[in-house]
Structures are given as C-alpha cells and as structure tokens.
C-alpha cells in the first residue's frame, strides 16, 4: 500500500484496486466490457482512418494520413462544410430544447405537486415507442397532404393541393423533429435540480423583498445552472451524430455529418474515409465531454448542499 492509498483508499491506483483481494476484481467485467465493445472497435476505426485496415478487395494497406489531410482544413472539403452546418443546427436545437424544457421542469418541480410523477410519466409516454416511428409520425403531420396542410386547406388559407413546401424535407423539419425528440429528456436533469432546490432560499429571497421574477433570475436560475448545462449536453452530444431524422424528414441539403458517416459505412466500401469522419466526431464529442463533464458527473443534488 502506498502512502497515498493509505491516506485515501478511494484514490488508489487502478493497479492497486485491481490487485486488492475481494474488491478490485469486481471491476474487471466492466473493464473487459468496455475494452471489448468500446475501446477495441474504436481502435479498429482508428486503424481504418489511417489506412492500416481496408474494407476493399485488393487495396494495399499502409499507413497514410491522406484522408485526414483531405478532410481537415485548410482546403475546401464538402464534408468539413457539412460538419460545420451540422454543428450549427445541433447547437440551435440544443439551446431551443433547453429553453423549452425549462418551463416544463419548473412546472413539474414547483407547480404540479402530487401530480408531478403522473405528469412526468405522461410526458415520457410517447418515448415508450420507437424513435423511428415517432419520426415517421411527423411525416404524416408535415407532408403535403398531412395534418397541417390539410388544416390550411380547410381554413382556406391555401388552395387545396398547394401545401407549404418547407414543412417537410427541409432543415425546419429536421430541427423540429430533433427538438421534439429531446425536450422531455432535457427536462429531466433540470427537473432534478429544481426538485432538490432548497426552497428556503426562495422564501428568504421573497422575505427580503424580491419579486417572483427577481427571485427566479437571482436565485432559482443560477442554482439550476448545473442541470441546465447537463441538459444542454444531453442534447448536444447525441445530436452531433444524428442521422435518422435528416434521413427521414430532411431534404437534399439538410443531411447532417452523421449521415455522411452512416453513408460511408453503409453505402460505400470506403470505410477509410468514413472512419476519418467518425474519429473526428468522436474527438469533438470527447472535447465536449471534457468541457462539460463536470456538470454531467456532478451529483445534481449537491446544488442543495452547496447552497
């Protein structure tokens, strides 16, 4: 046992934890699982990205950074441009989802009272069905003879048969579906923080003369920021690699970076270039996790303790 480990057993090195009888070994299944299903495939993708593996017949494999050179700036590259446009839509969706989810979480935490869990269940109920089906359901709503256009026709706003064309197969449709998909999930971390907020602080603020708005801006919102940021990351990270919504409701110009990756692996034998895009996306997500990780790993209930 090292001094460090004696002083702080929980901070023992990985080796020490693994070699400590009756304790460290318990982590081995998890470690093997991670190695097998995460690290190993990641290494394989990495090898593809530098051309040390190939999926094509008769193509020699040797270390090459050509695909990386081609993808990364400087220089024009359509996939890099697609990455940038995807990040913009991702950020936009993430911000909008958080803004929309906050009132929902607030309502559940402070207004719904005893009905909160019932309401929470109702909010999450659509998510008991497949994501794919929910996206397809939007096609029914947004298509040329879908629900919205039919209403417009009935109201005489538009001539029958002349639907609003940007409702579907557009960035609007992609953004809307992603927004819809994430709002309930985004509401959860915010709700957890608000739920555990020390309400005595709110009472104190009001006792000291703050109005409801001031109390919210000066007390509630700052204290709920860990949840807000966690929620933001909850949307941002998975949406970065999204490809289903653009595939189903996107137009030719609204495909995302994830579609390019999916397409390289699914539709072409050129896994090497697809691997470059995939590794880049992983790197971006890792940076995001490092940037926001502490909010994700923080026990959100600590917000109560720190107040």
């Amino acid at each position: 046992m090292s001094v460090a480990s004696s002083a702080s057993p929980q901070r023992a090195s990985l080796f020490e934890r693994l070699t400590t009888p009756g304790r460290g070994w318990l982590t081995l299944p998890a470690i093997f699982f991670l190695l097998a299903v995460f690290i190993f495939p990641l290494v394989l993708i990495g090898l593809y990205s530098v051309n040390l593996l190939s999926n094509r017949f008769g193509v020699p494999t040797n270390f090459s950074l050509t695909n990386w050179d081609d993808f990364l700036p400087p220089g024009d590259n359509v996939f890099w441009d697609r990455f940038k446009s995807s990040m913009i839509i991702t950020l936009l969706v993430s911000v909008l989802a958080v803004v929309a989810a906050y009132p929902v979480a607030y309502f559940l935490a402070f207004v719904a009272r005893r009905r909160r869990y019932t309401l929470l269940l109702l909010i999450l109920a659509p998510f008991f069905t497949s994501y794919l089906l929910r996206v397809i359901a939007w096609k029914v709503i947004l298509s040329n003879n879908g629900v919205i256009n039919s209403i417009l026709w009935q109201l005489g706003v538009r001539e029958h048969g002349d639907g609003v064309t940007w409702l579907i197969y557009s960035w609007f449709a992609v953004g809307l579906v992603l927004f819809y998909s994430w709002v309930p999930f985004v509401a959860l971390p915010i709700y957890v923080v608000l739920e555990n907020l020390d309400t005595r602080l709110l009472e104190a603020a009001q006792d000291l003369g703050a109005g409801r708005l001031r109390t919210f801006v000066r007390v509630t919102l700052p204290l709920s920021l860990p949840g807000v940021i966690a929620a933001f990351v909850f949307v941002l990270i998975p949406t970065t690699g999204e490809f289903i919504a653009p595939l189903l409701v996107g137009g030719p110009d609204s495909s995302m970076f994830g579609n390019a990756i999916q397409s390289f692996f699914q539709e072409t034998p050129n896994w090497n270039y697809g691997a470059v895009l995939a590794m880049w996306l992983i790197a971006v997500v890792l940076v995001l996790v490092l940037l926001f990780g502490r909010f994700l790993s923080t026990d959100l209930r600590e917000s109560k303790a720190t107040t």
């Binding site: 999926n55 359509v78 040329n144 539709e267 072409t268």
Partner: protein
C-alpha cells in the same frame, strides 16, 4: 438501400395486386443455356450427407415459399421447402448491394442473391464458387443473354433470376408532355422541389452519364466521373429529397403530392396507377435502366447439393411465372410467354412477359463499375455538397 426497398415494396404491390398465385403452366423446354465449366461432383458429398442447413443472403420479401418469413405468398422455393422442410433455412437480409458484399466477407453463406453489377466483387473476393449447371434442371430454360452475363472466367458463377427496369415515374397531370422526353427531366428547373432521385451512387452516376451522353455509363473515366458529379451537384437543389426506400419514402411522398417526378422501378408505376394517379413510366430517349439479380453459390458451402436444389426451386417455370404475376418483374425464364402474365396491359406496357425485353436497344443494363470506389466517393461528395 439498393435492392431491398424494391423488394420490400413488392409486398405492398402484392397486397393490392391481389397477391396472385398462378396455377401451374407446365414445365419449360429447350436447352439454350450457355455451356459452362461444371465443377466435378466427386468433390462434394451426396445430398444425404450434407447438413441441410442453408444460410442465405437474401432481400426481404424473397424468402422461399413455405417459410414463415415469406408472407407474400410467393411460390418460388416451395418445391425445396416441401422436400426438405423449412427448419434448416436461415436468412440474413441485404440492406444494400455494398453492405451485402461486406456481410458476405464476414459470414459464410450457402446461397446469395446479389445483382449483376456486383458479381465481379463476389468473385474477386473469393466469396463464391461456380454453379454446376447440370444440377439445375431448369437452367436450360434461362435466357442465354442473361446467363452469359453471369459467366466469369468461363464458369457460371451467377444464375440470373429476376430483372426489371428503372426509369422516371412522373405525374402526367403536372408535367408537360414536351418536358417528359428523357432523363433530362431531372434537371428541369421548372419542377424544382417536386423531383426525387434515389439515394444510390451507381444508379445516379448512370443516370448522369445518360443525361450527359457519355459513351459507357458503367465505365466512366475520372474526367467523366467528375462531369457526372458536377451534373448531379447541379441537379441536387431541384430534389425535394433523395429517397431511401421506395415503399416508405418515395411512393408515399408521390401519392401525397410532395413529389411529381421520381426515379422508380416499374412496381412504383403499377402502384401509383392503382392509387388512381395520372402517372407514366417514362421511356427516356436515352433508354431505361435495366437490372438483373440472381443467385450465387457460397465458396465454403457444405450444402452444395441443397443449394442447387434450393435455386432450382426458384428458377423453375412455375416459380418464374409467379414471380412476374406477383411482383411485376421479369424472370430469366425464356419459356415464360406474355400469355402467362395475368395483367395483359401491364405485360405489354412493361414487356415483363417478354424474355427478350432486356436485350432491347432502349434498355441500358447495369453492369459492374470497375471504378466503383471512385464513384461511391464522388456520390458521397454530391450528398454532402
């Protein structure tokens, strides 16, 4: 999503088409198949010593008759399942042509059902072995023009079975007749936002080649690939979307009026017409595209004779007639006559009862692209542009 969707769609086609199952029309005759080198049978144990478990790489909808997976009432395969049962048959589904090759690299299949443009990929990868055509009693009925396309290195690696066309499906009430002349309709600015090309690399580069008048649509030089790519990028904004699935994407959008002009197989025409839409399946001035799919034999199969029996149960005369009546596709069986097709008007319109139809000069049969990697990358660039 190349062939899957076409086949997947067939289910729908079959449903509203009545799911016709034909009565038997007698056996075929003739022996016009190309001679091929046949592997010696001595190297393979007799059928009763084989495991009898068939691992099959197949498109959804094309499972053998008699299996639970075959829900469209297809007759093909029934002879096999009656004789050997269904328990030993296992299907792995093809998502698209490229992923099918990838799957075949990673698994040993006994029978595979690729399309003709990928035959060379399977042979080059050592994934398949030649058929012994003497074990396929109906092989002699098959169209030699098609069977010849399945010969590689003098051996019959590919047994053609189903074929069809790809062209432009368009609304005659929305598209002016003078605009519906050929593949250039996809580039017509007048119909911006009402067009949907397929999300398929090879087919789109073939369409672009026909539009540009390139001499060989499946053998484009690098310069020509660049020209085709530029043309497709130019065309891209005119699309409402690139469709992935004819059944769940293209046809619902066509029916809904989101799109008026689409790349389509002939089943799309049949079904949109049945929906009451004023549609036409174009005969482009540059010619339609023609596709041919068929069977290949796994390189490491332990079910050599079972595999032959299985394929025979698909290429026999009755099964071929059923294929045409059920799915509106042609079969490679030369002995199928137009009179065998129940829907006479459709038979005439699509030439599906005419085994020589694909030999027509107005059909461009898809074939292997030697530079398919280059084309695939170029298509990805079009998609991301």
């Amino acid at each position: 999503m190349e062939r899957m969707d076409r086949r997947k769609f067939l289910g729908g086609a079959a449903v509203f088409g009545g799911g016709a199952l034909l009565s038997a029309c007698g056996g075929g005759a003739g022996s016009q198949g190309q001679p091929s080198a046949t592997p010696t049978q001595e190297t393979h144990p007799p059928i009763d010593q084989e495991p009898g478990t068939l691992n099959i790489l197949e498109w959804p909808g094309y499972e053998a008759g008699g299996t639970k997976a075959q829900t469209y009432g297809m007759l093909a395969g029934t002879d096999y399942t009656k004789e050997f049962g269904t328990k030993g048959i296992k299907y792995t589904y093809i998502v698209n042509d490229t992923s099918a090759v990838n799957k075949a690299r990673q698994n040993d299949f006994d029978v595979l059902h690729p399309c003709i443009e990928n035959v060379q990929d399977y042979v080059n990868g050592g994934l398949v072995q030649p058929w012994d055509t003497s074990l396929l009693s109906s092989f002699g009925n098959l169209n030699p023009a098609l069977t010849q396309r399945g010969v590689v290195n003098g051996q019959q690696y590919f047994v053609p079975w189903d074929w069809g066309y790809a062209s432009i499906l368009y609304r005659t009430d929305k598209v002016a007749p003078e605009d519906a002349t050929g593949w250039e309709l996809f580039w017509n600015e007048k119909y911006k936002g009402r067009i949907s090309m397929w999300d398929g690399a090879q087919s789109n580069f073939e369409v672009a080649a026909l539009y540009l008048g390139l001499p060989e649509m499946d053998n484009q030089t690098s310069d020509q690939v660049q020209q085709s790519k530029d043309a497709l990028i130019e065309q891209k904004p005119l699309n409402k979307f690139y469709w992935q699935s004819t059944y769940s994407d293209m046809q619902p959008a066509f029916k809904a009026g989101d799109i008026w002009i689409a790349y389509s197989w002939q089943d799309g025409y049949v079904n949109m017409k049945a929906e009451g839409l004023a549609v036409e399946f174009m005969q482009p001035s540059q010619g339609k595209l023609g596709w041919v799919c068929g069977f290949m034999l796994g390189a490491n199969t332990e079910n050599y004779h079972h595999a032959h029996k299985y394929v025979e149960s698909f290429i026999n005369h009755k099964a071929c007639i059923d294929l045409t009546n059920l799915f509106y596709y042609g079969s490679s069986d030369m002995t199928v006559q137009p009179s065998d097709v129940e829907n006479k008007a459709l038979a005439k319109k699509l030439n599906i009862g005419d085994p020589e139809a694909l030999n027509s000069s107005d059909v461009n049969i898809q074939s292997w692209m030697p530079n398919e990697d280059e084309v695939a990358l170029a298509w990805e660039e079009v998609s991301a542009a």
